[in-house]
Amino acid sequence: MALAACGGGEKAAGGGNVGSLTATTGYPEPHTMFAPGGGGGGPGFTGSKVLERLARYNRDQTFSPVLAESWSIAPDHRSVTLNLRSNVTWHDGKPFTSEDVVWTIKAYWKPFFPQTILDFLAGVEATGPLGVVVRFDRPVPEFSVGYLLSDGANYILPKHLYAGTDLLLNPVNNAPVGTGPWKFSQWVRGSHAEFVKNPTYWIPGQPKLDKLIVRWWREPASRAAAFETGQLDIGVHNPAPLGDLKRLQANPQLSVSFEDQGAPLGLHFNTRNPVVSDPRVRRALLHAVDRDFISRTVYYGYAKPAAGPILTSNRLYFDPDIPKYPFDPALADRLLTEAGYPRRAGAERFKLNLLASGWSEENGKSGAYLKQAFEDLGIATTLRVPDRANSLKALYTDYDFDVAYSQGGGTYNDPIPDLPLVFGTAGIKKGLIFRNSARYSNPELDAIFDQIKQEVDPARRKAETLNAARIILRDAPIVPLVEWPTHIIQKTSVKIASNAASIATDSWGDISKS
């Protein structure tokens, strides 16, 4: 009875594109609807429905305007002029102006987004109610500018609600006020949040639905079941267990798609620990791993082997001509012997402290496989799979591991800011997550990163990026093993028109139901 009733809104719609959309995400319920700085996928999903960015990053790696109607980069590449959209109002009725943008860049973006071109920020000024000039110390590349305007959490915040407050603890974060197609309506903690149509949205005709409901489950299997019982319209960020995907794919009511950008997952070597500080050992261990097995078994074939820090999905920079680490246990054995760790009967070559970050089941499983692969080489391996908090602590605060299987180590966009954060000396910041867990420091590489940050010529940028990738793969501090594209499950009746690179964090004003 209840199951039939859950689609009540739909029925009331009587066909057409009115009605409500029930969505879910593979992330747990966030601590807040919007988290300054991003806060991971949970708030990333909900925040993006209410708040908007200046631009959108598209699947074809181009940018299209959102709150900024257009932007131009000065010939010396040291300043950017933004023309803001007119007639945009905040959900509380206040007009959106250049004041909001100036304040956001200074008070929010600058402190929260290091290793971006904001490092060279010289000043931000409003040139009028809808005009803003952003000036930099050094030349900034065009892509980096577009990316700054469109990246994940780079929303424009309402100055009148945030100025003078503690951004992190501002209660508005729990009930965000933005310019987007969806107005935050209510949040029933432990269960769901509701968003209603913004009637004065600046794109006429959007949003196409009346209501957006976001539900959270702790249990992936329950989400899969909810799709099958028709309780859910759409789910992003890997909503269902991979093991269930085959069955869901076979369901004619549902369609399963994959985002282009696969998340890099691979080995992090603690370059300051004795054994793995030797690049030969690192290379040997990389040869010991069968990436195909991981993709096939752990990820049920939904992931593919990764090549290097420039992910294969990166159409801008990917170049197959880079060092590779094919599965070759014999070679691994030889390399270890050369490094001074010969195989000895009845004794291990050395001890290895293997960590698999515990926030996804797949990481743990991969860890189990890796342990076995290393042990087959005669390496005594202890595996730990701590929970999320302890994994993050072990990886980024205590550096308590020799080898870790975790997220990171590649980029599907511009190398800036991802690569310097992960491989640069500046990325070694105790306590900050998704940075340089390997504590790998190479002045040569740092210099290249510095170069890339201010290189405005696309061809030269690509060459430098490739150069960086080669150095990284040679030294192998962090090497992705697989690229795992997140899947999206939707009812076949749900239509997504957007061309955004990340559907999950797009505003969803254009989603319709038939």
Partner: protein, 275 residues
């Protein structure tokens, strides 16, 4: 002793429980014989159904042998259960004995201590402790012991309260016995029977607590326990229900057996239940 065995074996259910428990124990002891390899090794195709040749109970999502994990899991599960129960018995008997033997402030404050632990929701406490100090086996065992001694202490206290009124305790004092001699030499041997019966049950309780913890993903990840197997199989209930069901059945049978044995022990060891 013979009398004890005879009376115990008269309880057919308890005997059945004992046999069942013996089987589980045997499996646990013979785990290295039944599956000499590391149970966590990937040995076959992932998610083979039970009764697949070579994998009588099938394989899990990585291709590990369910049977191997189950029998090795029996070891750790039982070990955790017994170790935690021992911790609980040690604390429980000590606190209960003191609370029951001594009157006045000492007895009252130890009684209050028991009350305190009766008040704290065990699993909530367990979750908190293990997440803060880390999920290492030893901490898990100690924490489970720490949350499960209270019922043993309450029972021990009750036993001591009744036994300390017995005249032989007075007799002991008239010949100059000290408190420790009376507690350990005179009262404890009498009080221990029902306590032992309950302690058997506390092994079951510890197994259940550990399985809950592991199920929530907060157990020690470096060992295979049945609870963890259930937790790992939970996401697969639609595709491979047996991964979740089989270890669950193992827990049910073991706890069932322990309960029956505890009942039997209680019948034999608790004189008040004879009547």
């Amino acid at each position: 002793m013979i009398d004890f065995l005879r009376r115990f074996s008269q309880n057919r259910l308890a005997l059945a429980g004992l046999i069942l428990l013996g089987l589980v124990l045997l499996v646990a002891l013979l785990a290295p014989v039944i599956s000499p390899e590391d149970p966590l090794r990937i040995v076959g195709p992932a998610l083979s159904a039970p009764f697949t040749p070579g994998f009588p109970l099938g394989t899990d999502a990585l291709g590990r042998d369910m049977l191997a994990m189950l029998v090795h899991g029996a070891r750790t599960t039982l070990l955790i259960g017994v170790a935690a129960a021992c911790t609980a018995i040690l604390i429980g008997v000590t606190v209960g004995a003191i609370a029951g033997y001594y009157g006045g402030v000492v007895g009252a404050s130890f009684t209050r201590l028991i009350e305190l632990f009766q008040t704290i929701p065990g699993l909530i406490f367990l979750l908190a402790v293990v997440s803060f100090v880390g999920p290492q086996l030893i901490f898990v065992v100690l924490a489970i012991g720490l949350i499960s001694w209270e019922s043993i202490a309450r029972l021990t206290r009750g036993e001591f309260l009744t036994w300390r009124k017995r005249d032989f305790v007075l007799a002991g004092r008239t010949i100059g016995m000290g408190d420790l001699q009376i507690i350990f030499g005179e009262i404890l041997p009498n009080a221990i029977g029902p306590v032992l019966a309950v302690s058997t049950l506390s092994i079951a309780g510890a197994i259940l607590a550990e399985s809950g913890l592991s199920f929530l993903g907060l157990g020690d990840p470096s060992v295979t326990t049945w609870g963890r197997l259930i937790g790992e199989g939970r996401g697969l209930i639609r595709t491979a229900w047996y991964v979740c069901a089989i270890p669950g059945v193992a827990i049910v049978l073991t706890v069932f057996a322990l309960s029956l044995v505890s009942d039997g022990l209680n019948d034999v060891l608790n004189p008040r239940r004879l009547r």
